[in-house]
């Protein structure tokens, strides 16, 4: 067990590509721990994994997001949100969160959400005298909602790695996703109650403007209903829903005159590059898991940890700390794919529900996206802004990190927040 961990840390520390590091660890462990040569199975495992219909959803969801990004709905959506929400203490920062939430409901990517909403919103900081730090933090944090609110690529990966139903995970992600978004808005509200100057100038809007702005919310909500609605109505599996979403997004882009050959080429290129990179890690991880279970290492780890005699709550605390620390070093997708096959069986052995656990882990991954030094969303916001120091983005994100952790505490006390909706549908 220690040997496994040490080799993995060395390989990853040497900056070997994560997918290759996992695969090579498997190649090393095979002769060390198993009686039979298992390496030959890598071909069959790679084929099974690469041919898995559920995973077909990954390139499709990424492509859906890429097409929607390029169809120009974000800007209009943001201005609609600002008309509706900017009377609140904290003004446009609520629009940042709400636009991110809505964008998250059509896209499974946190980075893209932060980049898009950030580009539209950041010019408003100077124009309307906002506290720069909190404003930037709200954008970085709002972006993380992309992976919690369905459709989410991360939840598909969790579902495949742990054999958990993806529709159940999507249903479970809803209430906590909206909950996190409300907690984010609450954090802004509270900050601005104490420091009203942080809140910037209000935008004055009348009801006519507000109501006419609603039309800009139709495209994202339409895509959301098409994708998520078709899953819950029992019409489509997650992969089929993703396919419908891609076609819907293409029609949407065509209807606003944004559908060009160059646009499709870019969207396809982005989607294929990301999917190929994810799948290499998934194949490496699938192979390593096979070797580790066959050699009995996975079970040994689970037994050792359950044998420590700690309570389930302590274990949850350990899980939170584990991800907070690892989140400081590892890119989030590889962090998820590498750790879940080991972590999930342990937590399930402690009596946690697999669906509930998936939501908690994704919230922890969201946290990793906005904690330094490698919180990618922090860098994205900093790059959009192009001036000043990244520290102000980091400081501004802290209240939101606290809210994400608070959400985990709430989920621990009321697991029903995640589990109620899946039960209604099953």
């Amino acid at each position: 067990m220690t040997v496994t961990l040490v080799i993995l840390l060395v390989l990853i520390g040497l900056s070997i590509p994560v997918g290759a590091a996992l695969g090579i660890l498997g190649l090393i462990l095979d002769p060390l721990y198993s009686m039979l040569p298992l390496t030959r199975a890598i071909g069959e495992i790679a084929w099974q994994t690469n041919n898995e219909f559920l995973l077909v959803a990954i390139p499709l969801f990424i492509m859906l997001g890429e097409i929607l990004l390029r169809s120009g709905i974000a800007e209009k959506m943001y201005s609609a949100m600002s008309l509706w929400l900017s009377w609140l203490p904290g003004g446009l920062m609520h629009a940042n969160i709400a636009a991110s939430t809505l964008f998250a409901a059509t896209s499974g990517s946190s980075v893209a959400t932060a980049a898009t909403v950030g580009t539209v919103a950041i010019p408003q900081i100077k124009k309307r005298n906002y506290n720069e730090s909190l404003f930037l933090g709200s954008l970085a944090a709002g972006g993380t909602l992309g992976i919690l609110i369905p459709p989410s690529v991360n939840l598909i990966l969790y579902g495949v790695l742990t054999n958990t139903s993806v529709p159940a995970l999507y249903l479970a992600g809803f209430i906590p996703g909206l909950g996190v978004s409300l907690l984010f808005m609450l954090a802004i509200w509270v900050c601005c109650l104490f420091k009203p100057r942080w809140g910037g100038e209000k935008i004055h809007a009348n009801w006519h403007q507000r109501l006419t702005s609603l039309i800009h919310l139709v495209p994202p909500i339409g895509i959301f209903l098409l994708v998520v609605g078709s899953i819950y109505a029992g019409v489509a599996t997650p992969t089929e829903a993703a396919a419908l979403g891609v076609v819907g997004a293409l029609i949407l882009a065509a209807s606003v005159g944004r559908l060009t050959f160059a646009m499709i080429r870019d969207a396809v290129e982005g989607a294929m590059r990301t999917s190929a990179m994810i799948m290499l890690i998934v194949i490496g991880a699938a192979f390593l898991n096979f070797i580790m279970s066959a050699a009995g290492i996975t079970e040994l780890i689970t037994q050792t940890i359950t044998g420590l005699g700690v309570s389930a709550n302590v274990m949850l605390l350990v899980l939170v700390i584990f991800y907070l620390i690892l989140g400081c070093f590892m890119e989030t997708l590889s962090l998820m794919i590498t750790t879940i096959p080991i972590v999930a069986p342990i937590m399930i052995a402690f009596g946690y529900d697999p669906v509930w656990l998936g939501i908690v882990i994704v919230i922890l991954i969201e946290t990793a996206l906005i904690t330094p030094p490698v919180g990618l969303n922090l860098f994205v916001i900093q790059s959009v802004r192009k001036s000043g120091n990244i520290n102000s983005v980091i400081i501004g994100s802290l209240p939101f990190v606290a809210m994400l952790l608070l959400m985990i505490l709430i989920l621990d006390i009321f697991p029903g927040l995640a589990l109620w909706l899946p039960r209604q549908f099953s």
Binding site: S15, A20, G23, G72, E240, A243, A271, R273, L280, S383
Partner: protein, 207 residues
């Protein structure tokens, strides 16, 4: 230095050709994925509307997915899109990090060679046993499996070219080329790319 110019230019040309071919392969892969999206959508719609099915959309899109991923990998690798953890890397000197870039490329090569060898074996077994998918289509499995394994084989070729080119660069002390072929794209640079993409999208230039 002139002494080493000749092999360098050859491998630079090869690298450029590999880039062009891989980009083409990636477009075909993306096209396959888009076709899957349409095929699956049509299948869902006529299944609901007319209560009948085109059949096999899950099976065929699974094959398309496998083939598109294996063929897209070479482009992703050439673009240095593979995720590497730079926690220590970022603190190292240019010389040491160039060495790690090389080690990483070798490791990736080792893993991919294993993967390719046994992926080919999967396809060969299906060919020898004449295995067919357990579905109504009863697809002879060797067809998608060979196409899939061929993608990995191409990745091996690309990796070999990258390895030779970066070996030459490493030996001649041309660290910048090692970095250009196999270096890590830092989180800052990656974020910058995303941010620029965001800006382009919002301000409406399509490409």
């Amino acid at each position: 230095m002139t002494r080493k110019r000749i092999p360098e230019t050859i491998f630079d040309r090869l690298l450029a050709i590999a880039n062009t071919l891989s980009r083409g392969a990636m477009w075909v892969a993306g096209g396959l994925t888009l076709m899957s999206a349409f095929y699956i959508s049509i299948d869902v719609i006529i299944r609901k509307a007319f209560n009948m099915s085109l059949g096999g959309s899950d099976e065929l899109s699974g094959y398309a997915f496998a083939i598109s991923i294996s063929w897209a990998l070479s482009f992703a690798t050439l673009q240095r899109a593979n995720i590497r953890i730079d926690t220590f890397y970022q603190f190292l000197s240019v010389r040491v990090s160039a060495l790690l870039d090389f080690v990483s490329l070798v490791s990736l090569g080792v893993f991919i060679v294993y993967l390719t060898r046994y992926a080919l074996e999967v396809a060969e077994t299906s060919w020898a046993l004449d295995s067919a998918a357990n579905s109504t289509l009863a697809t002879p499995l060797w067809i998608p499996q060979y196409l899939w394994a061929a993608g990995f084989l191409w990745l091996c070729v690309v990796l070999a070219i990258m390895l030779v080119r970066s070996s030459i660069a490493l030996v001649t002390g041309d660290l910048r080329t090692v970095n250009a072929i196999a270096g890590i794209i830092s989180a800052e640079d990656e974020a910058l790319g995303e941010a620029e993409a965001g800006k382009r999208l919002i301000h409406g230039e399509p490409s």
